[in-house]
């Protein structure tokens, strides 16, 4: 495998972990974040501190990256999750930007110029393993009572409450888990690039993650996987028309919202069972249609 292709696979694998987290928050719990790059930044810097300054093993660095991001999200959540939708959104935006600006001004960690010399510990294998674990845990979570309660909160907050679901608690759970994913992704990114800079974690990055989730389809894990892979590869393949890429991107986002708001997969999961069901349904629909046609023909005869 050429190292170029391998590089893109690694990047999409790292993106995927952050996207999975955001997918839980936005697709399943219905919350919208503009600050996930901030959680990635926290993860990246914490992991880098662990491995370069404290000389701890990489695995500890990844765990620390996830944990600090989760901790930060808990603080943000406590302050803002009780507020109405847009406030949370703006708060995450403010948080993400604030993290970036703080890092910009913190010379101890390289400031705006960035922090080079992080060990290149991330390999394609540990990315793939974490991807698999990430998908498995998330799939288990959304098909448990915890996941169902999050979905209920997304669907109809008041009804969820009356059904005994502590809305705040489940929003918080979704946020913390999703920030932990972002933190892990940040840790991997830092040890893949071997160089981190606050600029890498700007609002543009947060927006990109959200767009991948939407593109893949809200409420679909397989959609998020597909989205992360396609949308990391596509820009690389489109290098030639690079400057028009984001123009098309922007239009596509509007187009999806207007034309196909549920995204690529929208709530549909790609599993053997769901595929079987899908084809069975189609067969049934075909049969029903044939029956209908026959019936119409019959009626037509009567009419004559």
């Amino acid at each position: 495998m050429s190292s170029y292709i391998e590089g893109i696979i690694m990047l999409s694998g790292i993106n995927l972990i952050a996207v999975l987290g955001l997918s839980l928050l936005t697709g399943f719990a219905g919350l919208f974040s503009f600050g996930h790059a901030g959680f990635m930044a926290i993860g990246a810097y914490s992991a880098a501190i662990c491995t370069t300054i404290l000389k701890l093993p990489f695995a500890v660095g990844i765990a620390a990256g996830g944990a600090t991001a989760a901790g930060a999200s808990w603080l943000i959540g406590r302050a803002t999750l009780k507020l109405k939708g847009d406030y949370f959104c703006i708060a995450t935006l403010g948080f993400g930007e604030a993290i970036r600006l703080i890092l910009d001004n913190f010379q101890g960690l390289g400031g705006a110029r960035g922090w080079p010399g992080i060990p290149p510990s991330t390999t394609i294998w540990n990315i793939l393993i974490l991807d698999v674990i990430g998908v498995a845990l998330l799939a288990n979570l959304v098909r448990s009572r915890h996941g169902r309660n999050m979905i209920a909160v997304r669907e109809e907050e008041l009804a969820a409450q009356v059904a005994g679901i502590d809305v705040f608690k489940y929003k918080m759970l979704a946020l913390v888990v999703s920030a932990a994913y972002a933190g892990v992704a940040g840790s991997l990114l830092a040890h893949y690039m071997t160089f981190i800079q606050p600029k890498m974690f700007s609002m543009v990055k947060s927006t990109e993650l959200t767009i991948i989730v939407i593109f893949g389809g809200l409420g679909s894990i397989s959609g998020s996987v597909l989205g992360a892979v396609v949308l990391t590869f596509l820009p690389e393949l489109l290098r030639a028309v690079d400057k028009w890429r984001l123009v098309v991107y922007g239009l596509a986002v509007i187009g999806i919202m207007i034309g196909r708001p549920r995204g690529l997969m929208g709530g549909f999961e790609l599993t053997p069972a769901s595929l079987r069901r899908h084809f069975a349904d189609r067969k049934e629909a075909k049969a029903a249609k044939a029956a209908q046609v026959a019936e119409d023909a019959e009626l037509g005869k009567d009419g004559l």
Partner: protein, 256 residues
């Protein structure tokens, strides 16, 4: 028989406007009580106060002898009260089965870790939840629709599903907010039998807000009449039918 729910001096003001003022009534254990009154009389507000959706301005709500005034809505279900909404609030994009399954959550105790790695405990308790959901759906006659998306159900069945979802929480008091709204006489008749049936089968008490006078008079053993946020009368259907105040303010108004 003792009272399962008592409401004393219940008052709610929005700004300067009193939506409900000084209302007293109670629901007897195992009984079906009705809450009637013209639009804007404060019926739904009372439901919102009992279930903690609104904060009470003054007064108290007691359930099974315990003060539950201003308890958070999600705790109300644990305590044993559930409700339906006037403008049906289902989990619209989920299947009928998932609507009920979600509401069954309180019957399982497995933790986050059990969810993430699917422990034996998770499998065991999930099975219990699924069986319970199927059983409820069969009792309410929705079993053959279990894979339909809630939003696509006919109106009457959506109401029925909302009641099923409420029952999934094993309530001892069920609050129904205009369950017959938008139904034809046939459906209303069916619904009436369903409510009585539910009461007997699940051994619970019911408080129902309703506009169909006919339904209320035949179904309820006790009726509370509200007007402009105040209680006008309180008694058996016969007593209400004969009450002068009620006839003047409501029944005689000719707007039913």
């Amino acid at each position: 028989m003792s009272d399962i729910l008592q409401v004393r001096g219940l008052t709610k003001r929005f700004g300067g406007l009193a939506a409900v003022s000084e209302v007293d009534f109670s629901v007897r254990e195992g009984g079906i009580a009705g809450l009637i009154g013209p639009n804007g009389a404060g019926k739904t507000t009372i439901f919102n106060l009992i279930t903690g959706v609104y904060k009470v301005t003054a007064g108290a709500v007691t359930f099974e002898g315990k003060d539950i005034t201003d308890t958070e809505p999600y705790k109300i279900a644990d305590i044993g009260i559930t409700r339906t909404f006037q403008n049906i609030r289902l989990f619209k994009n989920l299947t009928v089965f998932d609507n009920v399954l979600t509401a069954c959550h309180a019957s399982a105790g497995y933790g986050l870790f059990d969810s993430l790695v699917r422990t034996p405990r998770f499998r065991r308790e999930e099975k219990v939840l699924r069986d319970k959901s199927i059983e409820l759906l069969s009792i309410l006659g929705l079993a053959d629709r279990k894979d339909a998306i809630a939003n696509g159900l006919p109106y009457g069945l959506q109401r029925r599903l909302e009641i099923t979802r409420a029952l999934a929480l094993d309530p001892r008091l069920l609050l129904l907010d205009e369950p017959a709204a938008g139904m034809n006489p046939d459906e209303t008749e069916q619904l009436m039998r369903l409510i009585a049936d539910i009461r007997d089968r699940f051994k619970l008490s019911v408080l129902v807000i309703e506009h169909h006078m006919d339904l209320v008079m035949r179904l309820c053993e006790h009726i509370v009449v509200l007007n402009f946020g105040q209680k006008l009368a309180d008694g058996t259907p016969d007593a209400i039918r004969g009450d002068k105040c009620v006839i003047e303010a409501y029944l005689g108004g000719g707007d039913e």
